[in-house]
C-alpha cells in the first residue's frame, strides 16, 4: 500500500524502513492527539524526526498517509466459537476493547467524509474496509451453513445490522460503548424488535 513507487533494486540509497515506520507511528499518535483536521504533514515530519520531502516521496499528500496509517488500526478478528452468538459477541467485545486505545474515532469518520468528494479514495478504502470486515462476514457464512440464520437473510445486510448500532454510538453519538454492552446489542439483532405476540 505504497502510494509512491518505491523503486526496485537500483543503484542508490534504499528507502529507510525505520523512517517509514516512524512516520506511520507519528501519524497515528498525532491522529490520537489532535484528530484528522489538525493533523499536518509538517507536524508528522517533526514528530517522526524526518524531512518533509521524505514523507512526500512516499505519499502524495496527507490523505494517503492517513489511509495507510488507518489500515494499521485494529479491525475485527477471526473467532470461531461454534455459534453465531458466540462469534459476534467475542468479535465485537475485542473490537471495543481495542477501540479506545486507537484513533479510530477520529480517523474513520474523517476518511468516510473525505471519500464523499474523492472517488479515488474509494479505491484505496474499499478493499481495506472489506478486508477489515471479512471475519464478520465469515461468522455469518458459518452461521448460514449451520442453519442458524433465517433463510432469506442477506449476509451483507446482516453484518450491517450487527455493526450498525455500535458504529452509530461510537462514531456519531460519541458515546462510550462498554464491551459489556455487546451482549444486549447482539441479542437484539439476533432476536429482533417485535413482540412475539404478533
Amino acid at each position: 500500500m505504497r502510494s509512491r513507487a518505491d523503486g526496485g533494486a537500483t543503484a542508490g540509497r534504499p528507502r529507510s524502513e525505520e523512517a517509514h515506520q516512524a512516520i506511520l507511528k507519528a501519524t497515528l499518535d498525532l491522529l490520537s492527539e489532535v484528530g484528522f483536521s489538525a493533523l499536518t504533514v509538517e507536524g508528522v515530519a517533526h514528530r517522526a524526526g524526518v524531512g518533509k520531502a521524505t514523507i512526500y516521496r512516499r505519499w502524495a499528500s496527507k490523505l494517503p498517509l492517513v489511509v495507510e496509517a488507518f489500515g494499521e488500526l485494529p479491525a475485527f478478528e477471526d473467532v470461531d466459537s461454534g455459534s453465531l452468538e458466540g462469534d459476534l459477541k467475542s468479535m465485537l467485545r475485542r473490537y471495543l476493547e481495542n477501540f479506545l486505545a486507537t484513533p479510530l474515532a477520529a480517523a474513520y469518520p474523517s476518511l468516510a467524509a473525505e471519500r464523499a468528494h474523492n472517488p479515488d479514495l474509494s479505491e484505496l478504502l474499499d478493499p481495506m474496509l472489506k478486508r477489515r470486515r471479512r471475519p464478520l462476514a465469515r461468522a455469518f457464512e458459518r452461521a448460514r451453513d449451520r442453519g442458524e440464520l433465517r433463510p432469506d437473510v442477506d449476509i451483507d445486510l446482516a453484518a450491517d445490522l450487527v455493526v450498525g448500532p455500535i458504529a452509530v454510538r461510537l462514531f456519531f453519538r460519541g458515546m462510550r460503548v462498554h464491551p459489556d454492552m455487546v451482549d444486549a446489542m447482539v441479542n437484539l439483532a439476533l432476536s429482533g424488535l417485535v413482540s412475539r405476540r404478533s
Copy 2:
C-alpha cells in the same frame, strides 16, 4: 444557535439577515461541492458575497459555522401510520429521498470526527442530534404503548438498530442506498436474524 453575541436593540447598524442566510447557503453549497476539509471561510465569504469579518463576527471559526449549517439539513420527520413498521419505513424512505440532495454525507461524519477532539463541540451537537432523532424515538414510544415491542427492548438501542445499518452504508461504506431498500432493512430489524428453528 448564534455562536457570537448578536447585540440587542442598540444604536447601530443591525445585523443583516440577508448576509446571514447567504453565508449559510454558501456553506451548504460548498459542503456539497468540496466537502468539509476543503471548505474554507474565505471561500464561503466569496461565494456569499460578504467580507470575512462578517462571518467571524457571527461564528468563531469554520466549525461552528458548519454546525449551524448542518442543523438546517433534513432529519427524520414525524410520521404516525399506526404501526411501527409503517412509521419506520416511511421515515427512513423520506430521509433517504432527501439524503442525496444534501451534503449530509460529508458533513455528518466530519462533525463526528471533530467531536472526538473537541468536547465543546458535543455541547453544540448533542442537542441537535437528539432533536433530529426525536421523531424516531416517538415512533418507538408509540409502538411500545401499542404492545408491538418486546417488553425488554431498550428504545434508544432499538432506534440505533434501525438507523445503524443505513448509517454504516451511507456514511462508512459510501454505498448508494435506494429508498426501496428500506423495506428489507426494517423487516430485518423487526424480525431479527435468527432462524425460527431455534
